[in-house]
Amino acid sequence: MSTLFNLKNGPSRTFKPKKVAEGTKQWQLKQYAQATLGSGNLRTAVQLPEGEDVQEWIAVHVVDFFNHVNMLYGTISEFCTPTECPVMNAGPKYEFHWDDGDGQRRAAQLSAPAYVEALMTWAQTILDDEKHFPQKIGVKFPPTFMATAKTILRRLFRVYAHIYHSHFDQICALGIEAHLNTNYRHFLLFVDEFKLLSEKDLVPLEDFNNTILQETGK
């Protein structure tokens, strides 16, 4: 258990983050996460809080998952090169092509890094757009909000799928597989709770998904 959330320290002579000392916030976090995550709490955590607006609840999660994917992909982005991943895929069975929505061209076959870059830039633009994700207090969501949210989540899922299929070894070598697993589980439980993605959307990680859903007592 001790290394489940172990923080990897580099061997560098001058760059030595301190060991997590007992009593510090980081230590507290570690204890807490070890005690909490992995049990059934995420299933409860994704449920709509009593009295909350479902769109508001989904909006905050879409933003969170965007940030999480950005963070996770960022850790392995050096490994995900046009040479190593010439096509955005989730294993050899699923390829994803990018359509920037201008209606001019066919969906383009991009390398994984180019695809992710396009995806994240696209998503960022929408998340920053007051029309789609209103940030001002009291402003309502547009009627298209649910469709927008689903599209973003569906595309974010592909980055998870690509990481699992093509970069999981590297994730393990970096010691963040537990973090990825927890986070993906959170993602899946969330989209499952509100039926935001179809089974077909989730097919590239289907076995894993079934395990998660079954294990959390769905």
């Binding site: 760059f15 905050v60 999480h68 850790t75 050899p92 990018w98 940030q135 076995d207």
Partner: protein, 685 residues
């Protein structure tokens, strides 16, 4: 630990998982076999839940059409026939989901030793009872089984997938699953031509290992780990606190007998407040959320403003840096390190980071505002410090630098500009941008070159008085020299300038130079020109002389013996230099100083502040006279901007993990009753 155990378990399997064959786009996208496999699988064997179902429509169009329905861009899910062994080396990603079961495994197996506990990889179906249950009721009964882990793993990682799948080698595959056969048909050519490569599991390629060893890669992983811990800590804490607030609301309204429409009104109001909090949780921190009060600094890479955060009214120093400039000057790493140090800080000796955020063009660090100005300004104003004041400030500086060292960083470029005077008159260290493991190699090269170019005859000996006067006039002419992009080498130890190995004692050299300047009014190696400074640094042991004043009115400027002793114990060759705080504390010069209670002592000077946003101790960026000091800084900044080519776009991955601090950590005031203060941790479990 457990995942490691599982991994080693896997790698020790008699039939190691195979690596997927490389994608051949033209093959994988062929759709003609799909309908066939569909019909076969439905008639022969019900699809195992672990199987990736084959799309019902033969063409990849379906993905496009469906995707195009809801809003944004159309997108394609290109579905290709399943490969022989899709998930072979993926089983370990389940590790996190089965902590208890893995614990059992861990107990019986020595970590790191390949163990044959994982029956998953046994390829033959008769030994696999779960396949039977697959056909009946997939996965539902696993929970009741004693061997939960094994069973579930089977359901997830189909044993058939874990086979090596040598071409034509596994007759068993065809025996128990017609689906498999169809897939083999589809992939036959590919598989035949490209036999499954040997399992690559956990064997990193050299280029991968090189990347994994990079400090930057490790840093990102560490930041991600902390980020997720922090996120879940925050999320679960939020949910728990929210639950409590609702309970409080219910109890409160019940106690007050609020019913009917009154109750509904209060409930709506309560829910509205919760919604505001929730919305703020996703609101990205932007520079618009700050009101700029005044500019308080200008460096080569950006500006520093005094600002107030709109919603919380917090006052902070907002450091704004252009991504393009930082990328151009190879300073991204330095800013990230600064951010890392600042987020780790919990000591009064280092400036605290409140928020870090970014937009397309800039990165921002919102730091605690330290209103007393920096030591450059203080020295420009005071010239020479009294020995007791120099002792106090130097001691505080050592404490600050020691905190940085405790975090594992060496600053290497300490100068008076890095030390600020806070509202109480005590010292804080700021600007850790250079405190990385490695200086920019280009910069080291250029410094080395400059040292090498210096000829011995360039060495000019000047009297103390001359040097002091010269330095004063230089400071008048160019007071913010060190703020410009290139910076000044005045306080840098020779081993750093030469790119040699250095230790924590590198910073003690710099502090020695600062102490010298406190006592003498000029830094020990400053020359009239940059060349002269370089010459002085190269010949530092000849240049470093105890300043002597002989004019009667100047005699008070002469250093005491213990002060000079302190200076030369710090400005010394690395092997002779003091290198630990206790050694410094035991110097006779510092013995009058109670290091442990420094911050409780009265400082020599307490800034006279007119409120928390007083910028009187900083240069005024509205005054032409003050701005003239920055002419050089601005010029260098323009030079950098002119050659800037790396725009913001290339920088996305550079800045992952930079953002720090939630926009809103406040909780709404509950309608009535006390604010819930309880531990969020306790209710969650």
């Amino acid at each position: 630990m457990f995942s490691r155990v599982l991994k080693s378990t896997n790698s020790g399997n008699p039939t190691p998982p195979s690596k997927e064959p490389p994608t051949t786009p033209s093959k994988t996208r062929s759709g003609h076999a799909h309908t066939k496999s569909q019909s076969q699988s439905s008639t022969a064997v019900p699809p195992s839940p672990s199987r990736i179902p084959v799309p019902t429509t033969p063409s990849s169009r379906s993905g496009m059409d469906r995707a195009g329905r809801d809003g944004y861009a159309k997108e394609n899910v290109r579905t290709a026939p399943p490969p022989p062994s899709p998930h072979g080396d993926r089983s370990s990603y389940l590790s996190f989901l089965f902590p208890q079961q893995q614990q059992q495994q861990a107990a019986v197996s020595a970590p790191g030793t390949p163990v044959k506990v994982n029956k998953v990889a046994q390829p033959t179906i008769p030994h696999n009872p779960t396949t039977v249950s697959h056909t009946q009721q997939p996965q539902l009964q696993y929970g009741a089984d004693e061997d939960v882990h094994m069973q579930t793993m089977r359901g997830t990682i189909d044993p058939r997938m874990l086979k090596g799948m040598p071409p034509g080698g596994a007759g068993g595959a065809m025996r128990y699953n017609p689906l498999e056969r169809v897939q083999e048909d589809v992939h036959m050519k590919t598989v035949a031509r490209e036999p499954a490569p040997p399992p690559k599991e956990r064997v990193m390629q050299p280029w991968e290992r090189e990347l994994l060893d990079k400090a930057e890669t490790k840093r990102k992983a560490t930041v991600a780990q902390i980020y997720f811990l922090d996120y879940y800590f925050d999320l679960l804490g939020y949910l728990s606190a929210r639950k409590k607030r609702l309970e409080t609301f219910k109890v409160d309204t019940a106690e007050r007998n609020v019913t009917g429409s009154d109750y509904n009104r209060e409930l709506a109001s309560y829910n509205g407040r919760e919604r505001v909090v929730l919305r703020k949780r996703r609101t990205k921190l932007r520079v618009e959320h700050f009101r700029i009060i005044a500019q308080v600094g200008q460096g080569g890479y950006g500006s520093v403003y005094l600002a107030r955060k709109n919603d919380s009214n917090e006052v902070c120093a907002l450091k704004k840096m252009r991504k393009g400039t930082l990328a151009k000057m190879d300073e991204v790493k330095h800013v990230l390190v600064e951010r890392d140090i600042l987020t780790a800080v919990k000591t009064p000796w280092l400036v605290r980071l409140l928020y870090a955020f970014q937009d397309r063009e800039h990165v921002y660090l919102a730091m605690e505002y330290v209103p007393g100005g920096d030591f450059r300004t203080l020295l420009n104003n005071s010239g020479v410090l009294k020995e007791e004041h120099a002792r106090f400030y130097a001691a505080e500086m050592f404490m600050g630098v020691n905190e940085l060292h405790k975090l594992g960083y060496i600053h290497r470029d300490l100068k008076p500009e890095n030390f600020l005077v806070d509202g109480t008159g005590h010292v804080k260290l700021t600007d850790f941008g250079l405190a990385t493991g490695a200086l920019n190699p280009l910069r080291i090269d250029s410094m080395k070159n400059k040292l090498d170019q210096v000829k011995d005859q360039d060495l000019i000996f000047r009297s103390t008085l001359e040097r002091r006067t010269m330095y004063r006039s230089m400071r008048m002419a160019e007071p913010r020299y060190a703020d410009s992009v290139v910076g000044s080498p005045d306080y840098m130890p020779p081993e750093v300038l030469r790119g040699k190995t250095y230790t924590y004692s590198a910073d003690y050299w710099s502090l020695g130079c600062i102490l010298f300047e406190f006592l003498c009014g000029f830094p020990p190696f400053s020359g009239h020109t940059p060349e002269e400074t370089w010459a002085n640094l190269k010949n530092w042991h000849k240049v470093l002389r105890r300043p002597v004043y002989d004019r009667p009115e100047d005699l008070i400027f002469n250093l005491s013996d213990i002060a000079w002793d302190a200076v030369i114990r710090l400005i010394a060759h690395p092997k002779d230099r003091l290198s630990a705080l206790p050694d410094v504390q035991s110097l006779p010069f510092f013995t009058p100083i109670p290091f442990s209670s420094l911050r409780a002592r009265d400082p020599p000077f307490v800034p006279m502040l007119d409120g928390e946003t007083d910028v009187g101790y900083f240069d005024s960026f509205e005054s032409e006279a003050d701005m003239a000091k920055y002419a050089e800084v601005f010029k260098k900044q323009r030079d950098v901007a002119a050659v800037e080519e790396k725009g913001g776009k290339a920088g996305r991955n550079n800045w992952v993990g930079f953002t720090f601090g939630r926009h809103v950590n406040a909780v709404p005031m509950p309608p009535r009753g006390p604010k819930p203060e309880g531990e969020p941790l306790q209710t969650i479990f």
